[in-house]
Every structure is written in structure tokens, then in C-alpha cells.
């Protein structure tokens, strides 16, 4: 099909335009794969040559280097100190010393057992005391930590070699090397970002990256109630836990795969409704408050903001108990109104519970959305509405042709993050229903309103079934990542960050 001009395109009716887009979409698919292939190929090629060059440079530097450089390959920082850059040199050397001490005194023994996660079981001695053997948890945790350390050492070592090369070249060219004073000065000026980043990244490394690595690895072990250190060992089981996800028939009771599928489905349904009910109702409330001629705008807004100010665990827990059966306030009101006939078991029936959760979530989320939307509504150019008024557009037309497209464009990324945020909305579900009503046909004491994240939590905390909790965590990550990637490429409002400056 030849490329249509704009005019030709505008002449088409809606069905034809849709058909055109539809075919264009499928026609583009081979192109995507081709691009993807090319990207992967270039990446592999660059990566390969990068590695080759890396080792070539290392070798050449060693071969052509003077004795100071050669010693630096083994005693880090030696060359730097000898050339007068004593601050860097001492830091390099200190790092090497710390590394060696750590490996010899602590990390080495864990690293050595990482492949098997411990061999000596704990045993009960004759006198009734427990003699602890290897602790698989410690081995895995500190083994991973040691691996981190090794990566850090290799990187630092590489920096050290690079510094030597630079130092040598400078000396040859009779240029002045940066002294310790220069180094310090750079850290508050040119390299100030290094100073600023040191602490936050170190925190993230130890308290986020390390634990996540650990838990990903746990998904490949049999770490659960019956393999619980320090009493028992746990070990590697490969992809067995992930295999459970695809094992449809299970003779003994509830199957993991079925439960996972159902909970994933409900998680997505919940995230969809929670996001869009809040979005549209929040927008409605914001427009109502901002309407011309409405007085006391500040009062209405404050009333809603009031509910954000109260910590969620208080408000949600109280509301959860308001809906209690048969003694909650809501049932009290219902029975008074109906003369004692109507009582609703809000948390006992799967569908009623699910709907109630979504409705209460509106109560929780709308004030927040109202704030977000108000700010954006005020930015819509007023003359758009004026000209629409002159042209005789109805309020609905104004909304659907001006307000909504503008809002969707601006808040596209926000909608995406709030969708994924709702998938992981632990507080609302856990505090309202605790995942209930619990049902027998679900694995691991899961309930009908459980999200993946609350299920993960109860598996980990109540059943100490860490291996499956880890599997669920990884699956949540995959779902969120894929969704984000796909949606982010579709929505138009992903902007260039440099645009602002």
C-alpha cells in the first residue's frame, strides 16, 4: 500500500482509518523484530570487542609499563604513591587490604560453600544441646556479599591500572599530575557528584540490591518451613519452584499454579478498577470543585485533604471494622433502616468483598487524585473552552474533546505508575480484608481478595514458605516490568527530560 497523504487519510471514514492502522500495526511487526535483532547483534559485537580490548589494554599496559606500574598490578596504589598521588594510592591500597582481610577472615568460607549451601546438618548432642552445623542462610547471604566485593575489587583494580597508565603518560609528557590537594578539591567541585552519590548508592547497594539478589537466588532453592536454618539446611533445586507454576494437576489439594493464575487475574482486575475509578471520580470531584460559581472551594478541598492527613492504617482499619458482620456500624445502620431484615456480610462473600474493596478504595484514593487533577486542570488554556462555548459545544463535548484528551496526555505516565502501584497496593487489601475470604481451593491459605503482594507476604510470614514467596516476587516484577515497557512505548507523553532546562 502506498503511503497516504494527510488529505487522503482525512477523506477516509472511521472504519477505513481503523483498518489502515490495524494493517499498519501488523506490517510493522517484522520491522520490530529486525530492529531488535540488529540491536542485539550490535550489542553482542560491541560487548565482545569491549572485552577483547579490555584485556589487550591490560596486557599492553603491563608490558610497556615501568616497574612501578608492574608492581601496582599486585600491590594496588603502589604506582600512584610513588608518583606523588599518595591519597589515591593509599585508598587503593586500603581497599585491597580490607578485601583480603574480609575474604580470609570472613567471606572466604561462605563463598567456598556457595555452590552447595552447606553440608553439615545440625545435630542433637547426647546431652540434649543442639550442635549447629552449617547455616545455609548465612552462606547464601555472605556468599552473595562476597561476590559483590569481588566485583568491586575487580573494578577498583581496573581503575588502579588505569591511573598508573595515566600517571606514566603524564610523567613522560612532563605534565603535572593531580596532587592529593587537587583530588580533594575535585571532590567538592568537578567530581562533586561522586561525593554526593557515595552514601545513597552504598545504602541502595546493601539494603536493596543485595537483598533482591538474595531473594532471586532463594527462588532457586528449597528454603521453606522444613528447610529452615539453622536447624536444617536448604539447597539448590534449579527451576523446580518455577515448574510448580506450570503444573496444572495436583492430586493433593489446592494447586499452586491454579491459585497463582486466579490471584494474578484478580490483581490485574483490581489494579484496573482501582486506577480508573479513582482517576475518573477524582477528576469529576476536581471539576466540580473548580467549577465557576462554586463558592468555598478551599473548604471542599480541605475536607478531602483531611482524609489524606490521617495515617492510612488508622482510617483503613477503622473502616474495615465499620463493615464488620454482623456488628459493624454499617450493618447497624442497615438493620435500623430495614427493620432488622437486611444485614450484609461484606467480608464473607468473595464478590461482595471484592466490590466493597474497590468502593472503599475510591474513598481512600479520590482526595489524592483530586489534588493531582486540580493542578493540571488549571493549566488547560481557558481560551480553548471559550471558543468551544462560542461554537456551541455542550459540556459533555467540551469534556470529551478538550479536558479528557489533555488530561490523558499529561497524566499518561502517572496512570501507568498508579496502575503498577495498585498492583502492589498492600495497605488497602491487607488492612481491609487481610486477603479474605479465605478459601480451601486456594493454595497456601490465600483468599479471594488477596493480591500477589499480600499473598507473598502471608506465604513468607505465616507459612515461612520463602521459596514460593520469592517466586511470586519475581513474577510480580516480570508482570510490572513488561506492562511498563509496553505501555511506556505506547503512550505519547513520555517526554525528553532535557526539555525543561
Amino acid at each position: 500500500m502506498a503511503q497516504l497523504t494527510d488529505l487522503e487519510y482525512l477523506k477516509l471514514n472511521k472504519a477505513q482509518r481503523f483498518g489502515l492502522k490495524f494493517t499498519a500495526f501488523f506490517k510493522a511487526i517484522p520491522g520490530w523484530f529486525k530492529n531488535l535483532g540488529i540491536k542485539i547483534w550490535t550489542f553482542m559485537k560491541n560487548f565482545f570487542w569491549g572485552v577483547v580490548n579490555f584485556f589487550k589494554n591490560l596486557g599492553l599496559t603491563f608490558w610497556h609499563g615501568d616497574w612501578k606500574t608492574k608492581v601496582s598490578y599486585f600491590v594496588m596504589g603502589f604506582g600512584s604513591v610513588m608518583r606523588g598521588q599518595w591519597l589515591r594510592g593509599i585508598l587503593f591500597f586500603l581497599f585491597e587490604v580490607v578485601f583480603i582481610l574480609y575474604m580470609v577472615l570472613f567471606g572466604g568460607k561462605f563463598l567456598g560453600q556457595l555452590y552447595i549451601l552447606g553440608q553439615n546438618e545440625s545435630s542433637m548432642g547426647d546431652d540434649g544441646t543442639i550442635k549447629y552445623g552449617d547455616n545455609s542462610f548465612d552462606i547464601l547471604l555472605y556468599g552473595v556479599l562476597s561476590l559483590f566485593f569481588i566485583v568491586a575489587l575487580i573494578y577498583t583494580w581496573y581503575l588502579n591500572v588505569k591511573q598508573n597508565k595515566i600517571g606514566e603518560d603524564y610523567v613522560k609528557a612532563k605534565k603535572q599530575l593531580a596532587t592529593a590537594k587537587d583530588d580533594v578539591r575535585a571532590l567538592v567541585d568537578k567530581d562533586f557528584y561522586k561525593t554526593l552519590l557515595a552514601l545513597p548508592t552504598l545504602g541502595i547497594l546493601i539494603f536493596t540490591v543485595l537483598p533482591i539478589f538474595f531473594m532471586i537466588l532463594v527462588a532457586f532453592t528449597n528454603y521453606d518451613k522444613s528447610h529452615f536454618p539453622p536447624q536444617n539446611l536448604f539447597g539448590w533445586v534449579g527451576f523446580d519452584n518455577f515448574g510448580l507454576l506450570f503444573q496444572w494437576s495436583n492430586s493433593e489439594g489446592a494447586s499452586f499454579s491454579m491459585t497463582f493464575g486466579q490471584i494474578l487475574l484478580w490483581t490485574l482486575v483490581w489494579a484496573f478498577f482501582a486506577t480508573f475509578t479513582n482517576y475518573f471520580l477524582g477528576m469529576l470531584v476536581a471539576m466540580l470543585i473548580n467549577k465557576k460559581g462554586i463558592k468555598l472551594k478551599k473548604l471542599w478541598r480541605t475536607v478531602l485533604v483531611f482524609s489524606i492527613a490521617i495515617p492510612q492504617f488508622i482510617s483503613i482499619l477503622f473502616v474495615s471494622n465499620m463493615f464488620q458482620y454482623p456488628d459493624g456500624i454499617i450493618n447497624g445502620i442497615l438493620s435500623t433502616l430495614s427493620g432488622g431484615k437486611l444485614l450484609i456480610d461484606f467480608w464473607g462473600n468473595a464478590w461482595i468483598a471484592r466490590i466493597t474493596v474497590i468502593v472503599i478504595n475510591v474513598w481512600i484514593g479520590v482526595p489524592y487524585l483530586m489534588l493531582v487533577v486540580t493542578g493540571i486542570l488549571m493549566n488547560i488554556p481557558a481560551d480553548l473552552y471559550e471558543s468551544a462555548n462560542i461554537d456551541g459545544a455542550s459540556p459533555w463535548q467540551q469534556y470529551s474533546k478538550i479536558t479528557l484528551p489533555y488530561m490523558l496526555f499529561i497524566t499518561g505516565p502517572y496512570l501507568l505508575t498508579s496502575f503498577t502501584g495498585n498492583m502492589n497496593n498492600f495497605n488497602v487489601i491487607y488492612l481491609l480484608t487481610g486477603g479474605g475470604p479465605k478459601v480451601q481451593e486456594y493454595y497456601g491459605n490465600a483468599g479471594k481478595t488477596d493480591l500477589l503482594i499480600t499473598w507473598l507476604f502471608s506465604l513468607a510470614v505465616n507459612d515461612t514458605n520463602y521459596k514460593l514467596a520469592a517466586v511470586i516476587g519475581i513474577m510480580v516484577f516480570i508482570v510490572v516490568a513488561v506492562l511498563s515497557l509496553v505501555i511506556y512505548n505506547i503512550i505519547p507523553s513520555t517526554r525528553n527530560e532535557e526539555e525543561f532546562q
Binding site: 477503622f318 507476604f457 516484577f477
Partner: protein, 289 residues
Amino acid sequence: MAAEKHSMSMSKKKTIVNTVSYIVLGLISVIWILPFVFLLLKSFDIGNTGVTKNFIPSAWGFDNYAYLFSSDCNFLQWYFNTFIIALFVCVIQTVMQFMMAYTLSRFRFKLRKPLMNIMLVLGMFPGFLTMIVLYQILKTIGLTGDNAVPGLILVYVASSGMGYYVIKGFLDTLPKSLDEAALVDGANRMQIFIKVIIPLCKPILIYTVLTSFMGPWGDFVFAYTVSLGSQAGMNVAAGLNSWLSPANIGSHFTHFCAGGVIVAIPVMILFLFLQKYYVEGVTGGAVKG
């Protein structure tokens, strides 16, 4: 004449629309306020300490509040713990997030994009996944149980650099010419950060302090896990939550309500005073995020 009639009907229509709007707004306000009124009423109920059908107390009194401050319960200890945690967290977290945001907004270095992407990917992992490990790490350095307060502070602030988005969004809107002018005047980057950028960040600074101060008041899962049920190390949320367990709810529900009121009041006052900044932060974050 006709035009006058037309405008009459227009204004009539307007009045009707406005009346309906006011009714809807009034209804909304009632729905949003009512649960808190119930909470307040229930906290004065001394007739029945459990969950009841009636929101009007059968007997009124301050017994529930008196209980909170009596030696029978550890509410004051929890309250104090939470306050200390919130205080430390709001200072350290704000500093960490500013450091991260300023770097990513103003410096261009080789690892910048990879760093941002890594943090984005890390953020996609569910938070509780790492709880088991963090607990174990804290246990190793002896910061669980009775010593949970410093342990909780450590965990709350350690990874807080990842929440830099809102601040960076704000910093990105500050013109770069400010930095360049200061650079020409001979300031170094640290001086620019402290003397030029920070003073311009007042709104977002207040927003960050406010949100990070409020965070610890609401966390109960991690606080409960780390404190291991030790009264000395628990925070308010974990403590109050423990009163709602099936075994305790019959005798402690009104105490929970009273405790909730006491917790909510200072946070609420702070919030209502700084509402303006909160709104700015929320809208800014959503648009640029």
C-alpha cells in the same frame, strides 16, 4: 424582551446546576468526614470496648484515653519511638534524596543513565520481597527486638535515594543559568548546591520533609517484624494494630480508636498547615514523574 427572558432562563438553569453541585459536594464531604466522626465518637465509648453496631456511645467518658496514658499499656513508649523514628527519618531521608536528585539533575556523567535505569528496575520489585533479608541483616548487627528503633531508622533511610523523582522534577525546572552564573563568580559545585540551589527549593523541601515525616507513622508491617513483638521497640502503628487481633479486639477496639485520634491529631495539624506545599509537590510529581 426576548433576550432578557433568555438570560432569565439561563440564570435559572445556572442556579439549579449550582444547587445540585452544592448538594453533591455536601454529600461528598459527609461521606469523607463521617468515618472520622465515628472514630472520634467510638473513642469516647466506655459502654462497650468492642466493635458495635451503634456509633453513638452507650456511655460517654474519657476512660479510653486515660488507659492510653496509664501504666497498663505501652502507648506512650510506642508514641515516643515513632516520633524519634520520624524525626530522624525526615532529616536523613530528605538529605539523601536531595543529594541523589541534585546529582542526577545537574551533573552529566557516564554512569548517569545506567544508574537511573537500575533504580527504575529495582523499584519494580515488590518491597516486601526483601524484608526477610533485611530482618536478618539487622539481627546480625543487633538492631532488632528492643533495639528496633535505630534498626528501623536505618532501613527506612538506607534506600531512600531511590525516591528522588519528585525533587529531581523540581530541580529540572530551575534554570541551569543560575549554576553557570555562580560558577563564573567562582563558586565551586558544593557551594552552588548549598548556597544557590537549596534556598530555591523551599516548597519541595517542605514537601519532602512532610511526607518523610509522615511515612514512619503508618508503617506497621516492617515495624512489627523488626520489633519482634517487643514493646520497647514497637512503633505506634504496629502496637495499635496488635490491639485488633481477634483475641484483643473485643477488649481493645475503643482503645485503638482513642490511640488513633491521638496519633492523627499532630500529623493532621502539621499537614493542614503545610497543605499548600503538599499540593504543590503532589501535582508537580504527577506531571513530571
